[in-house]
Amino acid sequence: MAFCCEHSAYSAADLAGRLALHCPENLRVIPVPCAGRVDTLHILKAFENGAAAVLVLGCEEGACHHLTGNTRAKERAKHAEVLLKEIGGNGRYVAMSNLSPNAPHKFVTIVDEMNERIKKSGEVR
C-alpha cells in the first residue's frame, strides 16, 4: 500500500507506467493531495486490512509543494512504526520516502525494495 502525494510520487508512478517500468503487482496506490494529509490512523488501518507494508511517498525534502507536508509525514510514519512494533507487527514495515515527480525509476526502486523486504519476512502471499 502506498500513499502517494499527487505533486510528486503519483506523477512518478504515472511516468513509470508510461515508460513500462514494471512495478510489483501487489502494490495499491491511494492518492493524497500532500503527504502531510496522511494520518497515523490511515497507516494503521492499512495494516488492519491486510497490508504487509505501507509506504508514504512525498516530495523531496525542502521541495514540498506545501512546505511542511513531507516532514510532517516523515514524523507520522516514524510514529506509526513505533506503534506497529508495540502491537507486534513483526515482518511488516512502514516507511516514508521522498522523490520528485520526474523520478519514475526511483519510484520503482522504492517499491521493489519494500517488496523484497516483505517477501523475505514471508508476509507476501
Binding site: 500500500m1 499527487e6 503519483y10 506523477s11 508512478a13 504515472d14 511516468l15 513509470a16 507506467g17 508510461r18 513500462a20 517500468l21 514494471h22 512495478c23 503487482e25 495499491r28 496506490v29 491511494i30 492518492p31 493524497v32 493531495p33 500532500c34 502531510g36 494529509r37 496522511v38 494520518d39 490512523l41 490511515h42 488501518k45 492499512a46 488492519e48 486490512n49 491486510g50 497490508a51 521541495a63 509543494h65 506545501h66 512546505l67 511542511t68 507536508g69 510532517r72 507520522r76
Partner: protein, 540 residues
Amino acid sequence: MEPRIGVFICDCGGSIKNIDFSQAREKAAKIPDVAFVELSSDLCLKEGEQKMSSSLKAKNIDRVVIAACSPESKKHVFQKALESAGLNGHLLSMVNIREQCSWAHEGDITEKALQMVRMGVNKARSLKPIEKEEISVNKDVLVVGGGFSGMSSAIQLSRLGLRTILLERESALGGKNRDLEDLYGLKTSSLIKEIEGNKDIEVLTSSEVVKVEGKVGDFTVRIRRGTEERSRVFGGIVFATGYETGGDSQLKPGAQITSPNGLAYMLQASNLGGKPRIIGFVFDSSDENSRLASVATLNSALTAKQKWDSEVYVFCKNVKVDGEGLESLYREARECGVVFVKFEEKPKISAQDGRVKIEAKDVLVGEGTALECDLLIAEENFLPSQGTETLSSLLNVRTDSRGFYQEENVHLYPVSSERKGIFFVGDCRGDSAPGRVLTDVSSAVTSLYELLGPGKIVVERDKVKVDPQKCRTCLTCLRACPHSAVGLTRVENGREVAEIWDLACDACGICTALCPAKAIEFEGYSDQQILAQIEAIGVS
C-alpha cells in the same frame, strides 16, 4: 438514500490490452451500490462523452466511477462532462487502470484492476458535491519598492488596467539604478517619467509597510508615512525590495580602494583629479549566486576601459555568465583588452607608496603574478535589503539560507510566494542578472492579472471546512497552515472558531490530518473516503 453508482471502464482506444474487460464488467456489476457498468473505448472524446451523458440521465446515476487513464491527464474533461449531464463535477472518482495498472505490469492484470475499481467505488459512495462560488476581489495592487523592478511592475500592471500604489522607503523613486545606470545597464529615468504621468499609479515615498492582514483579493495593509499610519485594502502585493551591498570586511574603502558602486560614481563624475592608469578588480565570488557581482564587474571594467582607457585587470575565481547577454558582455570586455586572471587561493593585497599591490597565483599559467595598481575595486557582498527579515516574518513566508525571499518553487512558480496573491520580483529573491528581472516582472504581472483582472475569483466553496461544533479553537491549524489560509470567525454563542478561507486555501490537507478534534473535513480526501479505499484492499 442509497447511492446509485455508475462505473465506466474505458480501454483508452485499445491501449489497455492486459485486462479482460467483459470479465471486469461482470464482476464490477456485483459490487454493492453499483447501478450499472459500461465499457467504452473513447470516453474522453466527444462520442464517448455523449454516450456517458445519456447513460447517466437514463439510469438516474448520482455518483460516477471512471476507470481509465490517470486523473492527471483527463479528470477535468470528465468533470466537465458530468457537469453538462447535470451532475456536480466533484461526484467523480477516477481509477487509474492505465498508467498504474495495465502499463505497469505484464500479463493479465484483471484482478488488480477490479480491486482498484472497488477502491474507487468505495470512495465514490461518500462523495459530496462541491459548489463553485464567485468571490469578488479588490483589484488594486500594492508594489513595495520603487526601484527598477518595482517601477516596471507598476507600469505593466497599470497597462493591464490594475490600479497600483507604489511604495518607496526613500524620498524619491529610482532605487539603486537611479545613480548607477551604467553598472547594470537598466535605465530608470524614463520609467520615473512614465510613472509621473500615469494616473493609475499612486506613488507614496518615505513610506513603509507595517502590517499585512487578510488574504488574496482582500489584504489589509498598514502603511506608515512619517508619523502617520493608515490602512488600505489591496487585492495583491508585489515585493520588489531589492538588495543591499556590504563591503569586503578585510579591505577598508579609501582613496585607492573602492567598490564597483564607488567606481560607477567616479566614472560619472566630471571633475575627477586624474584618471587611474592601472585598475585591478578582485572578484572572489565562486558560489552559484554571483551573477549580479559578475554583471557589475564586467560592466564597470568595460566602462573604465572605454572611458578612461586605463589598463584593466580582473582577478577572479569564476565569472558567472549564465544570464542573458552575459557571455557577450564577457567577450566584449576581453576584446577591448580587459585582462582576466584566474586564481584559486585568495590574492594577497598590500599597500605600497600610495599604490595597491595585488599578488595572486594564476592557475592557468601556473605562476605567481603581481600587479601594482592605482585603483583597486574590491567586490562587495550582496545582502537582502534591510527589513527583509521583519517583512518575511510579518508575512509568514520563508527566506533562503542567505536571507533572501524564497520562491514557492524554484522551477515551477519562481515569483510566487507560498501565499496566494503575494509575489516577489527582482533581486529581493536573490541576486540575478538584469535579464531575469524583466522576466520576473512580466510573470508576476501576468499572474496578478489572471487572479484579479476579472474582479472576481471562482473558488470551490467549503472544500476544506471546519465544523464549528467540533472546533475547540486550539489554533493548531492556524499555526500549521503553510499558506496562511486559516483565520478565526465568531459563531453564534460568541465563541471564536477556526475558519478556512477558500480563496487562500491550496487544499493540501495538512490541517485535516493535524486537527486533534477531527473538526476539519476535506471533501474528496476525508478520513471516511481514504479509509473506504483502504478497506477495499481487505475484500477480494
